[in-house]
């Protein structure tokens, strides 16, 4: 009789043909690709256009996209868990509208600022709770959040409201100068601080690692005893907070509150995150990648501006093409890993 103690050896032996062999980390490939792309784009710009090499050109990319960066950081957390947040653009609109309205009514900025930040956070908390407790798809729950936030802001005021408050103006005009004509705005400093904190949280805290675990395999994460529900709710809350902070930066940037601000911004944020190499199915990616993704988007706009005869719609087309390229790249990378 055959020895039955041994399980079939054919199975595991051949299945594990790559066993005990270290494979280079495939998760870095998308980020490296983005970095390479950024360098190529910058070189092309410097080579083709006069004045493109000025430090301020690069800094302006930061200045013009600081709010997007903050929103994209929040989106990164959500996408890392395998979710999506469609409400961010609308939350920006709501934040700016509420801020402008209250400031115009004479409320002190010290009250308005925390209040508007709270609004986005609460909306995020609500969406996260619906997603977790009732197993509603993130797409639909945040779509409802988007309608809600946009509807509220339109209800408050349909027109653009200028912001003339002293504090707001001071914040908007604050500049950090390095040299003659070389500066960044307060928005950039705030955005970079947000990026830094986010990167630290993701890499060094339990919460951050839980975010990755949920994106890798939510069922496993649950069985491993991780607080899946709490983390998931926290992630949408965080995204809501980032969106309203982005809204505050946007109101600094434009000195206005308008219910149509931030239309389609959720797409830009998602695009930046994807181009930054974060896997849309979750579990892989870095905030640093998101930063690069935002820079790519910004640089595309800058190049198109410098080119002059190219029109703004090329931005969308190029972003679309890049999205396609990166999504296919992700497909290939994940397929190889299996």
């Amino acid at each position: 009789m055959i020895d039955t103690t041994t399980p079939p050896t054919a199975g595991p032996k051949t299945r594990g043909s790559g066993r005990r062999i270290y494979r280079p980390n495939t998760r870095h490939i998308p980020v490296l690709a983005t970095l390479a792309l950024l360098i190529v784009m910058y070189s092309v710009g410097v080579y083709n256009y006069d004045g493109f090499g000025d430090t301020q050109v690069i800094l302006n990319v930061f200045v013009d996209n600081a709010f997007l960066l903050v929103v994209a950081v929040g989106m990164t957390f959500v996408i890392l868990t395998g979710g999506i947040d469609l409400s961010v653009g609308a939350v920006i609109a709501l934040t700016t509208t509420v801020a402008a309205t209250l400031l115009a009514a004479g409320w002190p900025p010290g009250v308005v600022l925390p209040l508007v930040l709270l609004i986005g956070t609460v909306i995020g908390l609500g969406m996260g709770s619906i997603i977790h407790f009732f197993k509603v798809e993130p797409f639909i729950a945040t779509l409802a959040g988007m309608f809600l936030a946009r509807g509220l802001s339109l209800l408050i005021n349909r027109n653009s409201i200028p912001i003339t408050d002293d504090f707001w103006t001071r914040m908007a005009q604050m500049r950090f100068r390095f040299d003659q004509g070389v500066f960044i705005s307060l928005n950039v400093v705030i955005a970079l601080i947000v990026v830094l904190i986010a990167a630290l949280v993701l890499a060094w805290t339990r919460f951050g690692r839980n975010v990755y675990a949920i994106g890798g395999n939510a069922d496993s994460a649950l069985l491993m005893g991780l607080p899946v529900g709490r983390t998931r709710i926290a992630v949408y809350t965080l995204s809501g907070f980032c969106a309203s902070l982005g809204g505050v930066l946007y109101s600094f940037y434009t000195s206005s509150g308008y219910s149509l601000h931030g239309q389609g911004l959720e797409l830009d944020a998602i695009a930046a995150v994807v181009i930054g190499g974060v896997l849309l199915t979750g579990g892989s990616g870095y905030v640093l990648g998101t930063l690069l993704g935002v820079l790519v988007l910004g640089l595309i706009q800058t190049i198109i501006t410098f080119q002059g005869d190219l029109n703004s719609w090329w931005t969308r087309i190029v972003v679309g093409i890049l999205l396609f390229a990166f999504i296919v790249l992700q497909r290939l990378v994940t397929r190889k890993a299996r």
């Binding site: 009789m1 050896t9 199975g11 270290y22 980390n25 060094w204 339990r206 675990a213 395999n217 579990g283």
Partner: protein
Amino acid sequence: MVLQMTGIKKVFPGVVALDGVDFRLAPGEIHALMGENGAGKSTLIKVLTGVYDIDGGEIELGGEKVRFTGPLQAQQAGISTVYQEVNLCPNLSVAENIYIGREPRRFGRIQWSEMRKRAKRSLARLDLDIDVSAQLDSFSLAIQQMVAIARAVDLQAKVLILDEPTSSLDKDEVDQLFAIMHRLKDQNTAILFVSHFLDQVYEIADRMTVLRNGKLIGEYRTADLPQMQLVSKMIGKELEALEKIEEQTREVPVRGEPLIRATNLGRTGAIAPFDLTIHAGEVVGLAGLLGSGRTELARLLFGADRPDSGELTIDGKPARLSSPRDAMTKGIAFSSENRRTEGIIGELTVRENIILAMQAERGWTRPIPRRRQDELVDRYVKALQIRPADPERLVRDLSGGNQQKVLLARWLITEPRLLIIDEPTRGIDVGAKAEIQRLVAQLADGGMAVLFVSAELEEVLRLSHKIEVLRDRRLVEELTNGDDVDADRIMQTIAGGVTP
């Protein structure tokens, strides 16, 4: 007793998964939980680990009544688990997978180097020396399973549950695992062990609890229960009863060119290469415990999975089946054992489910005229006595037996030459069972080849001309049904050649 479960009841919509099951576990023992797939082992484990809440009964852990609301609570109470499928996060590093949720921290900041050091040490105890900072999915399943074991062991739990931990391990790794289990046993850990490999169970377990159909069959000392008796307890036939099964050997059909011939056909990790022929009018029975590779074999013949070795010929001509659709055009039909997920489409009606395969074959542009649909459906609803006899009822509202009949009807109207039916009689009542068996015999008499997969030896014996016995994902023996073949004989092969 460190763990005492009494009268555990768990009900899922339509199924009683656990029905008043008692289970006890003493410190410093290795206790095997035995039963076929669907017997309730996994449910019992998930109850114990807090994945499912119970509908009745009590759990006492260390003398205290407990009720877990989630895996986290169970873990904190001292129960750690290695699940059947690797339940880790493939995107995280090995070290993280071992320590996530309890990472060493200082001022809230994870100490990565400390974590890697500990992970390294933890794996060294399993004789595993790998790069702990590499991503988990860059390693083979076997190593991933070892990592899962390392995690569970590292939790230093009172109760360690190992649910099929050995299915992806080779001999050496199993030995290492057993060495660790012995060490933990000496340290007074209570270990609950589940395995399909009976010899492993007999090698390591002190006691065993047998479940069948969600019910407790009994608790035995391993030494007191011979392997043969264990199998009969798992399958549910007392030895005497098995011997009494009336054999009704049926006439062997005229031989000639086989309808289908598999040569060295196999798929890594699913079923070892096998040879098999099936003739028209022949019923071939596949016997073996659940999880022995029966379903995997059937799926290869239907093109549901692709083989990675061997050949298949149909009518003597080489055939390559890369999808179920290919198999269907060759006249092969397959009714899956997973009725709910791979068979019926619950939100469609009985009529729609029955005509689905035929319609798929015709393509969407050539709908089956409604009158013909009604005719066909009516005929089969009557012939198979599908209840309720309302073709417009949603299939999900039917009982399991009737869903099975709907599935059979789906394939029968395509008039296949080879009908593969996987566990068609599981979980359905005796009357429906007999009807299905009669039907299979009729079909074969009418010239259809049938591959009949079942865990119930008596029905395999009653129906088959030829019986293929599988064990541990390998086709181990082919028996021509005759006077010398009885349930005992087959059971011996299934159990691994140990005679009682």
